[in-house]
Symmetry: C2
Subunit: 201 residues, 2 copies
DNA sequence: CAAAGGTAAGTGAGCGCTTAGATTCGCCTC
DNA sequence: GAGGCGAATCTAAGCGCTCACTTACCTTTG
């Protein structure tokens, strides 16, 4: 089982993961339609046909990437807001988590935020559901702060949308070789979020 | 010249405009690589070959759209901040203008913000220059407010980037059939911008 | 008739995906 | 423990199709 020699099974799992990883890189750099299945296979060190050993289609690759990515984000943001803390602390934690993900994983974030139009209608609806859930988490924590009197904003829903926008747009412009670190951006945006929702000083 | 009968010249101009318009719609909906030149020609009511009567290539169409769009935005934002007014009024005007453009022209905005990777390197650099100019306008008006003591933010450059991000991301999520109007979003975001830069109450 | 607008009919290249078959490996039987 | 089997991994070759773009030609108009 834990033999030093790699089993057929283990080789297959690794190839599957390499294909997914290559697809993320390629979709991010050239877009779904700008990427060929040959691009993906070559980057993964396999023949063009190997893509179809592990995945039904190019679209199914995108779907797998999108589901995984959104699940990770939803879980992280939910966890960040679950803590027993003040509304200000919860909003700050949610924004910090969201920004950290989009800066650190900007390559994957670019794919799961900007390539969704290439999904089938059915798959798109599934992802839209996950996105609505993320939106709801952010909106509810802002609304709770307004109800408790900790926040002051004329429109909690618009404010929550704005906070998510800041994170998402990071995927578009963030570069690893830039001068801003994910942590510095997370801190700055968490502070900006508190200003945006009118948190009591 | 102003004959009632349409001249060859006028027909050509109209076809050129219809091709550009069709390209904006198609690039926005399906992406540059997801759009075929046949899609564009058909939507413009012309034969596939007609694209090449008016434009050298598909990429040149995208380039023309990107140059025009960025010039319009740069001019509008420059105009909005030129007014003889307080820093707060100037930032509010800049954000209002930027947000209005991205909401009202979200179809074009989607193309000129998310399809730039399909440009040739030379064309991309040209557009990058225009984008830097827009960035500079927003950054300088924030910096001026900090210098004058009207604003209080730990990082004017990050704050300016955030304000631009809010506008750009509108192009991704804004829908004409949604419940928020461009004007309502412009007002909300202008107010949010003043909070973000720590404008004196 | 010269110039510009427009098209029918292609060109070679590259696309997503399939097929047939080689290779590897865990596992069962005797 | 030798031998055979089925399942899984992977590839060489290529299928039908669509792509961006070109060419040769006709039409309209000043």
């Amino acid at each position: 089982m834990s033999d030093a020699r790699t089993s057929t099974q283990a080789r297959g799992d690794r190839s599957r993961a390499r294909l997914l990883d290559a697809a993320v890189q390629a979709f991010s750099a050239k877009g779904f339609h700008g990427t060929s299945t040959r691009d993906i296979a070559t980057a993964a060190g396999l023949s063009p046909a190997a893509v179809y050993v592990h995945h039904r289609s190019k679209e199914e690759l995108l779907h797998a990437i999108a589901v995984r990515g959104h699940e990770v984000i939803l879980e992280a943001v939910t966890e960040a807001t679950r803590a027993d803390a003040t509304p200000a602390e919860r909003v700050a934690a949610a924004v910090r988590t969201y920004v950290l993900f989009h800066a650190r994983s900007h390559t994957m974030a670019r794919v799961i935020n900007y390539e969704l139009a290439a999904l089938t209608e059915e798959h798109f609806k599934e992802i839209a559901g996950l996105r609505r859930a993320i939106d709801t988490v952010m909106r509810e924590v802002v609304e709770e702060g307004v109800r408790s009197g900790d926040f002051d904003t004329p429109d909690p829903a618009k404010a929550a949308t704005a906070l998510l926008s800041l994170g998402i747009d990071l995927a578009r412009w963030y570069r690893d070789d830039g001068s801003w670190t994910p942590e510095a951006l997370a801190d700055f945006y968490a502070d900006l979020a508190l200003r945006a929702v009118g948190a009591r000083p």
